[in-house]
Structures are given as C-alpha cells and as structure tokens.
C-alpha cells in the first residue's frame, strides 16, 4: 500500500486514490466559482462490484442546515480546495431534509457504521472509505478499519505521522493501514419497508462463510440487523446458521420471524439437531412447532424428544440408509445417487427384514466393489454391532472406537432399527466430558 506517496489532491488523468474523510466538508462552488455549500454525503450506485459515485449532497447554513442533492454528472472538477459544479447556484434547490430512500449513501450507510467483513468473517466498524478516482468519477475501492483511519478522521494524521516518524521511521504504526476491499464488504443498511438488507450482491460471498463463523457474526449484531441479514440467506444456509447461534438468539429469532418461518428451517435440519433445539424450548413452544411441521417430520421428532439427551436415543439421527433383505447392489447404489441428504451420510447402509429388524450392515466401499446384480446380504459385514436406545454416550463411544465405526445403528428392545449415532455427535459429547476433566487437572490443550 504505497498510495501515500502520491499527492492525491492534484487533478490528474491517472487513477489515484483518495479518502472520503478528505472530501467531506470540502467547499462546493458553482461554475462561476460562487460558494454553494459543503460536501455532506456521496451517493453511490451499486451496479457493478465496485459502487460508482452517482450524486452528492450539499449542506449549507448553521444552525438551520439545508441540504440539496446534485447529480454526479454535474460535477465539473474535484480539486484540492473545492468541488466545482457545472450548475449555476440558483438552480440548486435546498430542502430541510435529505431523504434519499433508494440509493446507498456513504455517510449515512457506511461511514462509522458496522458492516460484515466476509473475508475475515467478522463485524467491523468503518473508519474511512477509500476511493479510486478516475478523472472526476469516484469508485469505492476499500473501507478503512485501521487505527490510521481513526487518526485521519480526527485530523491528527499529519501531526502523528510526523511525531512517530521522528522517533522511529520504521514504526509499525506507519504501515498500519487496514484496508478491506469493497468486494468483501456486506453493508447492513436495512430497507425500512421490507426490513431486509438493502444491497445483496452475490459477490458479497456471505454464503461462503462457514456457518459457525456466520453464526458468530450474527450474534455480534443488533437484533434488527440479525433478522435482516438472516432473511437474506437461502434456506439451507439459514438452517445451518440457526444451529450455530446461541439459544437466546434462537429464541429472539422465533419471536421476530414467527413459528412458521422457523419451522421451515427445521425441515432443513437433520433430525438430531432439530431435536437438540426443540428439547431446550419450553413445552408450549415445542408443541407449537410440532403442530406446524410436516406430519412425518413431526412424528419423528416427537419420538426422538422422548429419549434422554445423553442416551443413544437422544443422540441419534433418523436419517439413515436401510434396505430390505434381497435388494440388489445396483439398486442401492442408484438410491444413494438419487437421494438428497441433509447431512453427509455416514457411509453405512443397513439391511433390515420386513419388520425393520436390523439384520446386517455394509459400507460404501464394499457396495462399490460388489457385483451389481448380487443381493446385498451376500456382501455385508459378518457381524454388525449396535447399541440400544438407552445406551449411554460412553458405551456408544467405546463401541465405535473399538470397531472403528463412523456410525453405529441404534435399535429398540425388539431389535427394530431406530436410527444411527454418527461419530461427530459422539465426539461433541465426549469432548465436552473430556474438557471438564482437563479443566480439573489443569491441562489446557495447545491452541
């Protein structure tokens, strides 16, 4: 970042960088060089990846401030002292307010506001805006979130730079520019009528942020922004994010978005995660949800809710692959190809009889290697280990470790296959137990 060396204020045909803080409050004159007012705000058009200046707001008078909107095409010249317009002073109409509902206006919506940095996955506050200037057109290039931006806004940049440079010409401070490219910035301006985020360009890459990080970002925001941002996500992302926010925020979401909206999200969740959530709700709310959910899903969930949280029944998910005895290998492979999964399947296929009793199991590798026309039971593992609905977490973990299973089937007292416990669910439980022990004997794992 070496733009500092260029004198940004000299009018030049070459592209140069300039800061919003340098432009704010700059005098605006008409074509006769008569004073019109001062620059208050810049309005940008978000057509491409990088927004272009589309207009400016002039402010004049104190204490009775008046504002006027000038289209950017009337800007004649940006020079170090002033901004010159092609218009005549009298043709500019001032008003008490400056309501520009549609556009993105930088001072109101970006400067000093919180935005999401989709590259570093966090919520930041904008200290300054960095423009690329070609001729007289401005393009938003970066937002500045560093300490230098703050100092520049306070008007101490030159003084502090001089002071620091005197003592240490290589000070870290002098290079402490924290510019984030605009393409990674998701503004949080809310459209007051629809209560959704105004600008939602696909480039903003919100959906590329891992759900756990996105959950944390959302938790850092005020409630209105949380809801607005959440609404801009697609349903599967919403489901993932929903599982990654704390219980309090989840409850707020229910209050704000309503049961029906959250219920649609629950349909996108694997059943074990959905039950985890429902389990913590007050009984009334759980009932409410079960009454809205698709009847099949509701039945499944209400059954799962009956098991204790740390038993195999409470941990298991009811999404698993089971086929009747005698099904051909090819048919199973075809079914795997066609089925859409809410979670990655745990690479196991179970074989059951007509009454859903667990008979055997087979993994994907064996399925692929087996001749397609053979019935499945010819290639299953010689023995399949399983746990009961009320087996403890420890028992489950022990068996999975012993037989190197990614998932273990769960059966009821009559050996009917009810679900599977996958390794990630066991891990999170076991890690929680291990953590408590580690804390007791005071060993902290390496970061």
């Amino acid at each position: 970042m070496n733009q500092n060396k260029i004198d940004i204020n000299k009018p030049t045909p070459n592209p140069v960088f300039t800061y919003f803080s340098d432009l704010i409050d700059r005098d605006i004159v008409d074509f006769r060089n008569e004073f019109v007012g001062q620059l208050y705000d810049i309005i940008v058009k978000v057509a491409q990846v990088y927004p272009q200046s589309a207009g400016l707001i002039v402010r004049r008078g104190f204490p009775n401030r008046k504002y006027a909107l000038v289209n950017w095409e009337h800007v004649e010249e940006l020079n170090p002292r002033e901004i010159k317009l092609k218009l005549e002073k009298s043709s500019i109409v001032f008003a008490e307010k400056h309501d520009n509902k549609e556009e993105l206006s930088l001072r109101r919506d970006i400067l000093d506001q919180q935005v999401v940095d989709t590259y570093n996955h966090r919520v930041i506050r904008v200290n300054d805006i960095h423009f690329l200037r070609v001729e007289n057109a401005l393009t938003v290039a970066h937002v500045d979130i560093g300490a230098r931006g703050l100092v520049r806004r306070l008007g101490f940049e030159k003084f502090l730079d001089f002071a620091v440079r005197t003592f240490n010409p290589h000070a870290r401070y002098l290079r402490l520019e924290r510019l984030i490219p605009w393409k990674y910035i998701q503004p949080l301006t809310i459209n007051p009528s629809s209560m959704t985020i105004k600008i939602n360009v696909p480039q903003k890459q919100l959906t590329n942020i891992p759900a756990a990080d996105l959950g944390e970002i959302i938790q850092d925001l005020p409630l209105q922004d949380q809801i607005a941002l959440f609404k801009t996500l697609d349903l599967p992302t919403r489901a993932k994010v929903f599982m990654n926010i704390d219980f309090k925020t989840q409850q707020q979401m229910i209050d704000e978005l309503g049961y029906a909206e959250i219920a649609t999200i629950l349909n996108f969740l694997p059943s074990d995660e959905a039950t985890d959530f429902l389990e913590r709700l007050p009984q009334e709310s759980t009932k409410q949800f079960l009454s809205i959910l698709e009847s099949k899903q509701a039945k499944k969930l209400s059954e799962l809710l009956g098991y204790s949280g740390d038993s195999a029944g409470g941990l298991m998910t009811t999404e698993f692959l089971a086929f009747k005895k005698g099904t051909a290998i090819a048919e199973i492979i075809k079914a795997i190809r066609e089925k859409t999964f809410k979670v990655e399947p745990a690479q196991f296929v179970y074989v059951v009889d007509d009454e859903q009793h667990l008979v055997a199991s087979i993994n994907f590798k064996r399925l692929m290697l087996a001749p397609p026309d053979d019935p499945v039971e010819k290639h299953t593992f010689p023995k399949t280990y399983y746990v009961n609905l009320n087996s403890s977490v420890k028992e489950v973990a022990y068996l999975m470790e012993k037989y190197k299973y990614y998932a273990i089937p769960v059966v009821d007292d009559h050996n009917v296959l009810k679900g599977i416990v996958t390794v990630d669910d066991v891990l999170s439980q076991v890690i929680a137990i291990a953590w408590r022990r580690l804390k007791k004997i005071n060993i902290t794992p390496k970061q």
């Binding site: 000093d112 919180q114 200290n127 979130i145 806004r153 306070l154 005020p222 209105q224």
Partner: protein, 411 residues
C-alpha cells in the same frame, strides 16, 4: 382463574427482565452518593428529604429514554453517538468518559479503603483484594451470573434501612418535613442540594443502562416490563438514599455534629446510635463502593470500544480484544494504586469526580435527546410532545445544576 394465571405469567416475565434499571439506579448510591447523603443529613437534618421526589421523576424520565433507545435500536449509546454524530464527537466524548470514570473509580476504591478502616481491616489488604475480585468477577463471569451477583449487591442496601430503624426516627416529624419542608435558603444548602441531584444522575449510568438493556436482549413487546424495572430502580435508590439522610439527620444533626465524609458519619454514629448502626453503616459503604467499582471500569471499557469500533466483550480473548482488556485492567489498577498512595487526600479526589461528571453530563443528555427524537432510528418510539416537554425541562434543570455545581467548586 385466567386473571390469576395472567398475573403470574406477567410477574415471571417481569422478574426475568428486572435487572438493568434496578442495578443502574442502585449504583448511584456509591461511595460519593453515600458521602453526599451523610453530609446532607448531618448538616440540614430532614430539610433536604423533599428533594428525593423530584429526583425520582428526573431519574425515571432519563433512564426510561436510555432503555427505550436500547430496546428499539438494539445498540448502545456509544454506538449510536458514533453512527449519528461521527467519529470526532465520539472520540472526545469517550475521552471525557474515560477521564471522569477514572476519577469515579478512584472514589469507589476510596470508599472501599474508608470502609476497611471502619471495619478494622487493613486497607492494604482489602483494596487489592477487592481489585482482584472485581477483575476476576467480570473476566470469568457471564452476563447472567454477574447480573445475579449485582442484584445481590442491591439487596445489601437494606443495611441502611435497618440502621435507620435503629435510630428510632420520629416518623410524624419526617412526614411533616417532606410535605412542608422548612428550607433554610443558604449557599451551603443550595450546593448540597445540587450535589445530591448530581450524584444520583451521572453521565456513565446512561451508557451503562443502555448497554445492559441491549445485552439482555429485551423484546419490544416486553418493553413495558423494562419501564417498570426503571421505575422500581428509581424508587429503590431514592428510598435507600432517603434512609441514609434519615440516619444522619436523626443522630448527627440532632447533636450538632458536622461531618465531611461517610466514614466521619459512621464514626460519629457509633456513640449515638450504637455498634449495630455503626457496622451496618460501614458494611453498607463497602457494599456500595465495591458494587460501583465492579460496574464503572466495565462500562467504560465497553462503551469506549463500542464507540471506537474495537473488538469488545467478555467472550473474547485478550488477543482478540486487546483495547478492551487493557482499558478495563488499567482503570482498576490505576484506581486501586492511587487510593493506596500514603497521605493522598481522598476527599478532594471524591469531590473532583463529581465535578467531572458535571462537565460531561450536559453533553450526554443533549446527545440522548437528539437521538431519542431521531425518527429514522426510533420510528414511532420517539418522545411524545408531552414527554419531550418533561424531558427537556429535566435536562435543562440538570444542565443548570451542573453549571452551578461547577461554578461553586471553582469560585
């Protein structure tokens, strides 16, 4: 039947929302507050008691605006100042807040030191111990657990009420003084009146109140309970203050004893009201000082980071939020160390904390009025015309009082 059920449900919701208003209001009865009330009672007897009625109203009006902004916008006061008034205003406001709050925190630790002496504990033990306690409480706790401890702190203010009953006040006379106060119009009376108001309504509490309501995540539909919380807080804090004045009026004033600090008051109480009153008074001072010492550094660090856009929050590690932890730790450390400097004049330090509050308060109140009336932020929840008339009157009065307070200190 359903009416009873509804009543219970509403009570449960209220209890779950109770907290921010009650806590913020009670922190006003900190070391500085108790000193002021003691002096007020000792010097002017019952004749200042009437002032608690207008103070209750002012407190409710101002705190209600903070919590309304918190619930509607979901943002803290520092956040809103930054977003609406820009970085310059925020920077200087935050600088002022840090400056005045360091003095406030010193005053709290001075209160801890004073109570240590009263209770016969070495202050070189109690002050560092309290500082460590405060630091760990906040760094290791969660908002929920801390709030419970804070509510417990609030409960201990009962010490003052009990100690008032030990002095057997003449209730008929007290009532008469409230309804028809005999006001001895003198310069000293006026100064003390202003000090009583100034110690109850401070700049930092606006920030703290708003942040804690935001932190609690209260829904707009439950806002009426928050308002009730604020009203409860205003009454509780003034009732406690009322009893402190009562204790001192009933004992010290009657015997013509003049005091300058809360510990003077406690010492003077001992022969007049007995050991119980003395220990309750001293324990009350310790409780109040420690309570405020917990809240002040936290609220300062929180607001400053909020306003400047630095990472903040107790769920972040030191590396993620260095400014937050540095500020928080520094305020505690500076205050505890200053108080332990031998022969440091603590009374002038406590008084200077109040003058700093007095300088900052007008700005904060004006920001609040501008923000709460901003349609874009508050939508239909801006002040009504009538409410604005009351609020502006209260604010103008507060500003006038602050100005007079400052003049009297400096001239």
């Amino acid at each position: 039947m359903s009416k009873i059920k509804k009543f219970w449900r509403e009570t449960v919701i209220f209890l779950s929302i109770l907290g921010p208003g009650l806590i913020t209001a009670n922190v006003d009865n900190d070391a500085g507050g108790i000193t002021t009330y003691s002096v007020a009672g000792a010097h002017f007897g019952f004749s200042l008691l009437w002032s608690f009625i207008p103070i209750i109203i002012a407190l409710i009006v101002i705190q209600e605006m903070s919590s309304r902004m918190a619930v509607v916008t979901g943002k803290g006061l520092a956040d809103l100042i930054r977003e609406e008034f820009g970085v310059k205003v925020t920077f200087y406001a935050m600088l002022g807040l840090i400056y005045s709050n360091i003095f406030n925190t010193i005053a709290e630790f001075a209160g801890i030191a004073a109570s240590a002496e009263l209770l016969g504990i070495n202050k070189f033990v109690l002050v560092p111990l309290s500082a460590v306690f405060v630091w760990f409480l906040i760094v290791k706790g969660t908002y929920k657990s801390i709030e419970k401890i804070f509510l417990l702190f609030c409960f201990f203010y009962v010490a003052y009420v009990i100690s008032a009953f030990y002095t057997r006040p003449d209730w008929g006379h007290v009532a008469q003084e409230i309804i028809h106060p005999k006001i001895p119009w003198s310069r000293e009376y006026l100064i003390l009146l202003i000090a009583v108001v100034g110690t109850t309504i401070t700049p930092w509490m606006q920030f703290y109140q708003q942040s804690s309501v935001v932190e609690k995540g209260i829904k707009l539909s439950d806002y009426k309970y928050t308002r009730l919380d604020v009203i409860c807080g205003a009454f509780v804090v003034n009732i406690v203050a009322f009893f402190i004045v009562l204790v001192c009026a009933n004992t010290l004033f009657k015997n013509g004893i003049r005091v300058e600090t809360a510990s003077d008051a406690a010492l003077a109480l001992r022969p007049l009201a007995g050991d119980y009153s003395y220990y309750l008074f001293a324990a009350g001072l310790f409780n109040a000082s420690l309570f405020a010492a917990c809240i002040l550094p936290l609220s300062t660090a929180y607001c400053v980071c909020e306003g400047m856009g630095w990472e903040l929050g107790l769920n972040k590690k030191f590396r993620e939020a260095p400014q937050f932890y540095a500020l928080y730790t520094a305020i505690i450390a500076i205050s505890a160390v200053v108080v332990l400097v031998p022969n440091i004049p603590l009374v002038p330090l406590m008084i200077s904390a109040q003058t700093k509050n007095g300088i900052l308060l007008p700005f904060v109140l004006i920001f609040m009025l501008l923000l709460v009336n901003n349609k874009r932020l508050m939508g239909e929840y801006t002040n009504s015309r009538l409410y604005n008339i009351i609020a502006v009157t209260v604010v103008v009065f507060m500003i006038l009082l602050s100005a007079i307070l400052l003049l009297t200190y400096y001239f």
